[in-house]
């Protein structure tokens, strides 16, 4: 167990280091002078003294390897640098945004889970019509592009019916449409995977024996096969959270919500490198943590994995 945890942590640290390194060197590929970018781009006609000053301030006059090591050193202390455009520390800026985006992503993940479980439990192993209907619903849901689905939801539920605000207001009502936008397509993906393992589970001997004991269809689903349905969903949750965080770029922009995604998009448009790097690192960190969590959750839900680990 200890060895396992150690390995997982070492893997996580390696991934974070690699992401930081890759991002650092990829950013150097950007054409143009970073000092100029900091002073507002080539159009700003900054003086030579100002450029030199900025190069000294940001350490851009140092050799690349020194800059790289300095960057790693600062990362260890949680310092993500200073935004080019906003001139505020990136860590502070992102810290304020992280909560909102995580809330959006976690709520969407939860809703997607409930939808996917309900759909796959309802439609698997029933009449042909239910199966086919379930498959088509999954397909259609998984094919929905966020930006379009959001627009349609706004048109129907804000403009026509007036039930929910078209922009996020910071109230629970304002979160409904963004969460639905992110959750429904994800539920489509999850349900597709859950159905497969549910179908397998329904053919296992323990289901026959439960049926022989006189358990009803619902009882078997809720007591016996639900774990099997949940398993692939759990192992895909790390992927799903990453998917939701990229979806957040689109959704936060459409619903005018403050958050990491919208900040990232603005920074990409303005080429505000420190913010882009900061968001990339932060999302990678969330992803890595999530991978470790899903690993633990899989073990919790599947005794077979625990036994395999113990046997070794």
């Amino acid at each position: 167990m200890l060895r396992r945890t150690g390995l997982l942590l070492a893997g996580a640290v390696f991934v974070m280091w690699a992401v930081a390194t890759l991002t650092f060197f990829a950013i150097r590929l950007i054409p143009g002078d970073p000092a100029q970018a900091i002073l507002g781009g080539p159009g700003s006609q900054a003086s030579q003294e100002a450029l030199d000053q900025v190069r000294r301030d940001y350490g851009l006059d140092q050799p690349l390897i020194v800059q790289y090591l300095a960057m790693l050193g600062r990362l260890l202390t949680g310092d993500l640098g200073t935004s080019y455009a906003l001139k505020v520390p990136v860590a502070e800026l992102l810290g304020a945004q992280l909560g909102g985006t995580l809330l959006l992503a976690v709520l969407s993940l939860a809703v997607a889970w409930v939808l996917a479980l309900a759909l796959s439990l309802w439609s698997t192993g029933r009449s042909r019509i239910a199966t086919v209907l379930g498959e088509w619903i999954e397909l259609a849901a998984a094919a929905l592009p966020h930006f379009w689905f959001a627009a349609v939801l706004i048109a129907v539920f804000s403009t026509a019916l007036g039930w929910f605000p078209p922009v996020a207001t910071g109230t629970p009502a304002g979160l409904v449409l963004p969460v639905v936008t992110l959750a429904v397509p994800l539920a489509g993906f999850l349900a597709q995977v859950m159905r497969e393992s549910l179908l397998d589970a329904m053919q296992q001997p323990f289901v026959v024996s439960a049926r022989a004991r006189g358990e009803g269809a619902l009882g078997i689903r809720l007591r016996h096969t639900i774990r099997h349905a949940a398993l692939p969903g759990i192992s895909l949750s790390g992927w799903a959270l990453g998917w939701l965080l990229s979806g957040a770029v689109v959704v936060e922009t459409i619903f005018a919500m403050p958050g990491l995604g919208r900040t990232l998009l603005q920074a990409v448009t303005l080429r505000d490198i420190p913010i882009v790097t900061g968001v990339v690192l932060l999302i990678a960190l969330v992803y890595v943590v999530m991978t470790i969590l899903t690993d633990a959750a899989s073990r919790l839900a599947d005794p077979r994995l625990r036994r395999q680990a113990a046997a070794r």
């Binding site: 390995l7 997982l8 893997g11 390696f14 991934v15 690699a18 992401v19 991002t23 990829a26 950013i27 590929l29 950007i30 042909r128 199966t131 498959e135 088509w136 397909l139 259609a140 998984a142 094919a143 929905l144 592009p145 966020h146 930006f147 379009w148 689905f149 627009a151 706004i154 048109a155 403009t159 597709q192 995977v193 159905r195 497969e196 393992s197 179908l199 192992s235 895909l236 992927w239 990453g242 965080l245 990229s246 979806g247 689109v250 922009t253 990232l264 990409v268 448009t269 490198i273 882009v276 990339v280 999302i283 990678a284 992803y287 890595v288 991978t291 690993d295 899989s298 994995l305 680990a309």
Partner: protein, 290 residues
């Protein structure tokens, strides 16, 4: 098997599961409809004049913001251009972006997968770490990073989407190669003294080809969606280009009054994704039955 590998195989297995296990058949009608839709897309790509009802760039200010009717099936936009004809005109660009992005992702995935499964343990270890690191840039994130570096535009967006799909392909392809590598016919070829290069080109790639094609059809829909998302965010194809994502972005301003400018280009994206997925699955079933 290490814990990490165990976890990877679970993910890869669920993906493979999704692609290749026998599922209750969708009705034939569905496959036929999907085929018809793809046929329409092909015609719209190569001979848009055959299916368009008018010139997609014909500006008619007096006809602006007309609701869908017999004359304008999908209505008209702010300049009176026919939305249906523009959707048709945009098919080529949107599909080109989706298909090229998928190809880029597949080729990279194929290269990584080959390296991992036939390059020995060191390469396998290295490639797996690379894939793991790339997975930490989920979806759009890697694409946005590419765009920051290379600047926005349709070509960059295509490459960006292709790159961001590569790690997923690489992992699935590696899994497939590993299982082919231990197949009896490969062992037989090895015993007969065939060179590794010959084994890969004669046995492994041909046997992996059908699943790869299936994987590609399943991936095109998602690639189109991501590329359209980038256009929508103003980082890919720009309006007034008749690309679906760009059309959606242009329609956003008029959503409250002219819903058809948004709804129909979006329906095309949804329809394309569903149709390619249904066809991909039909192919997967045939490959399995054969």
């Amino acid at each position: 098997m290490s814990e990490l590998e165990l976890r990877q195989t679970t993910v890869a297995a669920s993906a493979q599961h999704l692609l290749l296990t026998r599922r209750p058949r969708l009705p034939r009608v569905g496959t036929l409809l999907a085929f018809a839709f793809v046929l329409f897309l092909v015609v719209a790509t190569f001979a848009p004049a055959l299916v368009a009802t008018q010139d997609p760039n014909l500006i008619a200010p007096t006809e602006a913001f007309r609701a869908p009717s017999a004359a304008h099936w999908f209505g008209t936009d702010e300049s009176g251009r026919d939305v249906y004809s523009r959707v048709v005109a945009g098919t080529g660009t949107s599909l080109l972006i989706g298909v090229s992005a998928t190809l880029i992702g597949l080729v990279l995935g194929l290269a990584l997968g080959l390296l991992a499964s036939f390059g020995g343990r060191i390469f396998d270890f290295g490639v797996n770490r690379v894939i793991e690191v790339l997975f930490a840039f989920p979806g759009l994130l890697l694409a946005l990073l590419v765009i920051v570096i290379a600047g926005p535009g349709p070509v960059t967006a295509t490459i960006a989407v292709g790159l961001s799909t590569a790690p997923g392909y690489a992992r699935i392809i590696r899994g497939q190669f590993v299982s082919i590598r231990s197949a009896p016919y490969v062992e037989a070829a090895r015993v007969l003294g065939r060179s590794p290069a010959r084994i890969v080109t004669r046995h492994v790639i041909p046997n992996a080809l059908v699943p790869l094609f299936v994987l590609a059809t399943l991936g095109i829909g998602q690639a189109i969606v991501w590329a359209a998302a980038l256009s929508y965010l103003g980082l890919g194809a720009q309006p007034p280009a008749a690309e679906w994502g760009a059309m959606l972005a242009a329609g956003r301003t008029y959503l409250a009054t002219a819903w058809w400018m948004t709804v129909f280009p979006g329906l095309m994206i949804v329809g394309t994704t569903i149709a390619t997925t249904v066809l991909g699955r039909a192919l997967a079933r045939r490959g399995k039955d054969a």
